[in-house]
Amino acid sequence: MDNTNTIIKVDNLQTSFFTHRGEVKAVDGVHFDVPAGKTLGIVGESGSGKSITSLSIMRLIESPGRIKGGNITFNGEDLLAKTEAEMRSIRGNKISMIFQEPMTSLNPVYTIGDQIAEAYQIHQGLSKKEALQKSLGMLELVGIPSPKARLKAYPHELSGGMRQRAMIAIALACNPQLLIADEPTTALDVTIQAQILRLISGLQKELGMSMLLITHDLGVVAETCDYVAVMYAGKIVEYADVTTLFKQPKHPYTVGLLKSLPRHDIDQDELQVIKGMVPSPDDLPEGCRFAPRCPFAREMCVNSLPDLRDQEEGNQVRCWIHTDEWDGPEVNVKDDYDYGYRTVEGTES
């Protein structure tokens, strides 16, 4: 990873929720960085900690959750050391966020124009009139037809795709350096998803922003990202640039995810699935967290957790198979995944 031009660097981030049942480690030692102008995709199933990671960067973790440790460096500044007021001047200004649900992410009592203008009023202290003028420009930028009329429209008068465009306009209003998009297309129709994705990645290049794209959809990653971090149960299990990840996936979980994608180039009768469930973060396995679902798991996997290690191909992988300590037969994860063998009793889910 090239650190010379890094916009944001997350180092050993640990975010936990302290409930009456004890500590729940939602994010446990996550590292990554996003180079200027590039897109990092964070992929994982529900509950893998990807949204908590993004909320941690924004410092929007609410009690009983707390960022327990680690560093988040944005533009060379330590975000975790900032006061709440300093964070407010960063949120929506230098780091913006697009949420998953465009249907509920806009306030129903204000017009689209009012809500875009709010970004300018908060961060640039513009008058309502100037802010609305600039909002009009944003609506044009995100490709909303007849922007002048839409400025006065209320959220319920717009379709889901239009609302998501409006959300993007709000997020980009102050020209942020980093855009966090948390499953921006999940709630949209398939036909609209591609449009919105193209819009987001087009604007990202046009405005030279960095982007953190959170998704569970590897198809989205392939289309938009430069780098990919695959998260599983609060930890990154594989990190690679997007070409390497799709060509040479190393972690059994990544391979499982890729294999579970529907393919158009071969005739499939059924889709593959990764058997079992993501472990609950308040009851994590001791060793590798994927071991209970991994077709290659051996005793060492169940007993101890591997580090994230560099591979020749440029990936970083958290898996014993790719270490010298591996005590099983040689495995090519990508090819052998389908007939994975099991040697340890009780690892089946």
Binding site: G92, F99, E101, S105, N107, V109, A119, I170
Partner: protein
């Protein structure tokens, strides 16, 4: 000429703010609710009476007239006279403004304080919520009239002290409703979205949460005016509110009590006035609730 103006106004209508449109919708629905409309019309009549009534009546509401003591309703004294010979109709008309003044102001003060406390409790949660709501629970533990009675007993009997007393017992009523609504609204994504936009707590609370919980506040305020009027007249009836010779309905009712058997009209007309006002606000409030909150219609 007139045709062009009509066209222009049509064009103008298209461009008006949708918030006014939605107000129009509320009005359209409310219009079909005849009971609510009856209540609303009565309320308007009461307000007009309170403002212009005192100028239209010829008699002094407080001037005793020994020759005309304890007379029944007649063409001269429409509602009869009381034991001092004062015209009851004149006194009721003059009392209207006192009743409405107490009703509106006590609810307004209680509402403002209750909304602020409730929204703060609901928004910040945890310890702040616990402290505020436990205090509200203590206030709610007393029956309204008893609490008001206690407060007036401490402060002394006067119309303004009645307003203070009723405001205080109105606070928890509003605080509870507002806290509940705040709890449900603050979990919505658009609140997270404006927080991620860098909005301050103040901005989130008053610009984003408050406008979304106005409906239950308006409903509660309308209905609560009825309760406030009833409590205020109750306090005056007990001699703790307006002091004689103020033409306050509760006080009039109290003085009429002694002549109940021989001259029932002295107590009857102030009583009827109280019933009408309370009924009007209740009918109107129910209608507003059905219009604004179709979900809580029970």
């Amino acid at each position: 000429m007139s045709e062009t103006t009509a066209n222009v106004s049509k064009e103008e209508k298209k461009r008006i703010n949708p918030q006014i449109e939605s107000l129009k919708n509320v009005w359209r629905k409310l219009k079909t609710n005849y009971l609510a409309m009856a209540g609303g019309i009565l309320i308007i009549l009461f307000i007009i009476t309170a403002i212009v009534g005192p100028w239209l009546t010829t008699l002094d509401p407080n001037m005793p007239n020994v020759q005309a003591r304890l007379q029944g309703p007649s063409s001269e004294f429409w509602f009869g006279t009381d034991h001092h010979g004062r015209d009851i109709f004149t006194r009721i008309v003059h009392g209207m403004s006192i009743t409405l003044y107490i009703g509106f102001f006590s609810v307004a003060i209680g509402m403002v304080l209750g909304v602020v406390l409730g929204i703060v409790a609901g928004y910040y949660g945890r310890r702040i919520d616990a402290v505020i709501m436990r205090i509200m629970d203590v206030l709610l533990a007393f029956p309204g009239i008893l609490l008001a009675l206690g407060i007036v007993a401490v402060l002394g009997g006067s119309i303004n002290n009645v307003i203070i007393a009723i405001s205080i017992f109105s606070i928890p009523v509003f605080a509870r409703i507002v806290r509940g609504s705040t709890l449900s609204v603050r979990k919505l994504e658009y609140v997270d979205a404006v927080r991620a936009l860098g909005a301050s707590d103040f901005r989130i609370i008053f610009l984003h949460i408050l406008p979304n919980i106005l409906s239950p506040i308006i409903v509660q305020a309308t209905l609560h005016i009825a309760t406030a009027v009833l409590t205020a007249t109750g306090l005056s009836f007990l001699g703790l509110g307006a002091q004689p010779p103020t033409p306050e309905w509760g006080a009039m009712l109290a003085s009429g009590r002694n002549y109940m058997w021989d001259h029932p009209h002295i107590a009857l007309f102030p009583g009827l006035a109280i019933v009408l006002v309370v009924l009007a606000f209740n009918l109107f409030g129910d209608g507003v609730r059905d219009t604004l909150d179709p979900k809580i219609k029970s």
